[in-house]
């Protein structure tokens, strides 16, 4: 964690880090709370109470089926974070070892194979790939995670390779190679801690992208299956209700903006805090 320690700028100069961190923390807390408590069960219907405005009983009103919107926003936060974390998990689990292997095998067979493989994945727009996978395997949370995760493997492999190569050019690492330390030890002891910052920044950005992808897929009916709450699905349901009850669209829309903005600010803040010189490595 050398780079993290060497972050010279203090937090006071990085408003985006704190604003982003606060916005993200609120989403995180909401999702955690939703894990064991929501005002109502997120799928509890009451048709006679449908499309109500905010009241003491329903702080944010009710949806088309008389479900409590606050409960569904909270449940949606949980869904979004699950998908985001799992998609990042898939991306890291695949991308980290592939990226390190590629860096250490520079221009070798493994490196070329990984580079061409990620070129192939990048050749298709990420959302299109996700739609394709979801269309073939049907809707559902696992399929959304796989769909978004596959793209993340390529993203992380490429970021890790680039960052690792720049570290490998440094004298301390050249020295480690020269004295004959085994490759696994170089990867784990020298490379990984030094690229952790870059990976963390990338992860927050991909996290935001994964949440948007889940919302988009659910909006298209290819994401989370009903009746599980999802912000994208809430937006889709609200589409024909704009005239009757605009809150149906505004609330989940705000939740998405809040979360994605928070994560992006956090990502920017983290990057500046860790090392301004790494800016060029950001491949969004």
């Amino acid at each position: 964690m050398r780079l993290l320690m060497s972050g010279s700028k203090s937090g006071g100069h990085l408003p985006q880090l704190w604003v982003g961190g606060a916005l993200t923390a609120i989403v995180l807390i909401t999702a955690l709370v939703a894990g064991f408590w929501t005002p109502y069960p997120a799928d509890q219907q009451s048709i006679i109470d449908r499309l109500q405005g905010p009241s003491m009983a329903h702080w944010l009103g009710t949806d088309l089926y008389g479900r409590d919107i606050l409960s569904r926003i909270m449940g949606g936060a949980q869904t979004a974070l699950w998908v985001g974390m799992a998609a990042i998990g898939v991306g890291l689990a695949g991308g980290l070892p592939l990226g390190l292997a590629a860096a250490m095998n520079r221009n070798g067979l493994i490196d070329t194979a990984i580079a061409r493989g990620s070129d192939l994945i990048f050749a298709f727009p990420a959302l299109l790939t996700a739609v394709l996978i979801a269309a073939i395997h049907g809707p559902g949370m696992i399929n959304v995670i796989v769909a978004v995760g596959i793209f993340n493997i390529a993203v992380f492999a490429r970021v890790v390779r680039g960052a690792a190569l720049s570290i490998m050019a440094r004298p301390f690492l050249q020295a480690a190679i020269a004295i004959g330390r085994p490759w696994p030890s170089i990867a784990l002891v020298h490379l990984l801690p030094n690229i952790a910052g870059v990976v963390a920044v990338q992860a927050t950005v991909q996290f935001a992208a994964a949440i948007l992808a889940e919302a988009a897929l659910s909006y298209l009916g290819l994401g989370i299956k009903p009746p599980d709450p999802s912000w994208g699905k809430m937006l889709a349901d609200a589409q024909t209700l704009l005239y009757l009850s605009p809150m149906q669209a505004i609330l989940p829309g705000l939740a998405i903006v809040w979360t994605v903005l928070g994560l992006n600010l956090l990502g920017d803040g983290l990057r500046d805090a860790l090392d301004p010189k790494l800016r060029s490595l950001r491949a969004v």
């Binding site: 088309l64 008389g66 919302a215 024909t240 903006v257 969004v284």
Partner: protein
Amino acid sequence: MAQNIGIKPVSGMARTLYRTMGLIIASGIMALALIGPASAKTGVVLAITLEPPHLDPTAGAPAAIDEVVYANLFEGLTRIDALGQVKPGLAERWVIEDDGLTYRFILRKGVTFHDGASLDSSDVKFSFDRAVAEGSENAQKGLFSAIETIETPDPQTVVIKLTRKEGLFLWNLGWGDAVIVDPASAETNKTNPVGTGPYKLDNWTRGDSIRLVRSSNYWGQKPAMDSVTFKIIADPSAQVTALLAGDVDVVPNIGAPESVAQFEADPRFVVTQGTTEGETLLAMNERRPLLQDVRVRKAIQHAIDRQALIDGAMFGFGTPIGSHFAPHNPAYTDLTEATPYDPEKAKDLLAQAGVAPGTKLVMKLPPPTYARRGGEIVAAQLKAVGFDVEQIPVDWGQWVSEVFKGDHDFDLTIVSHTEPLDIGIYARDDYYFGYDNPAFKTLMSKIDTVSDPAGRNTLYKEAQRMLADDAANAFLFQLAKVTVQRKDLKGLWQNAPIQANDMTGARWE
């Protein structure tokens, strides 16, 4: 994934803000309605939800075919009018012999097909023979099942002999599946339909629109509109914006009932509500051991609160039904009281049948609002009595191949049966929901032989009761026909006694 959207960043915060907004907007989450100018019109544009797979009404079941071609492009010996009554079509008049088995139809003179070929009695014989022939794709062969022989003593006369009295024979001949086609063009009607109607096909842009134009050699009264365009708009909110923007003049069956309030408040539009032949069912796959048990099926019916379903899914548009019959039909009997919403009874029945709480059921839901929204509500109502229902949204292609045909891989599905007087589907062998009751089949064949209306109605009532007692399916509601149209557009059907958008009477005022 976000690209630099080309705004010079002033600070990290602002840059992120721009990028985030770019992402959100790019996600396509905003819809804009533009109001277009009105102009003097000589044509009419309709929005239909589904694109027909082809345009031959004698070679396929989809209602979307009839909704384009019926009365506009193709005609039969008789026709069904806006009130559901049988009117002369290509047959100017007819005589029924005293035995009730022989029908003598006199054809109109001077009728020609769009390609110039003239209509005579041989075309009628050809059309009906083709409909029942080996390998025929006709979806309603039952309409012709009573026909014994068809004779053509002269070009203007068709004599049809029946094997049994068929009370609905003239009505049956008014279906889209019984229209008269020309031998020369019959095989190409799917893509290049040639009929005798007042409109002919001008252009079909797949996935977008079907345009009909007035035929110059029509035998009857010239329609007021010189063109009729059917725009295919599947998305309910896109239908709303298309109306608001003036891109379409009428949506005969609006997909978003919640938008009605908006159009009622807008002086440019009128909203009408009518009836349809659409019995909306929660169909149950009786091939599944669980659903073979009548107690389980009854429990499912008792678990459903029909009025809540109509309010929640259809914004109150629809009439509760207790069996497979349209409430506006004289033979209808209201059986909703016989199978009321009673979750306690449902739980008792499930306990008797030994169904454990948490039993899984798979519900496949086609795209219409009644199915997707209805499914969400039905799933919650079934959850309340102990089922765990998995909702799987499917498109129509999947629905046909997985539910209607093939392996019938479903437990539950929600679908509206829009053919008129179609209670006979419960007598079909191996129909998709797999209802099999010999007593019902006997009853149906008995109805076919009775021609006096009162006697038929009694039997129809008996049939409705049998289906309700058996909980053959869970019967939900009769679909309403909610039409939103430009205020100055007149002459459209308010009800849908048959699958049709008859535009022959449409006019601007």
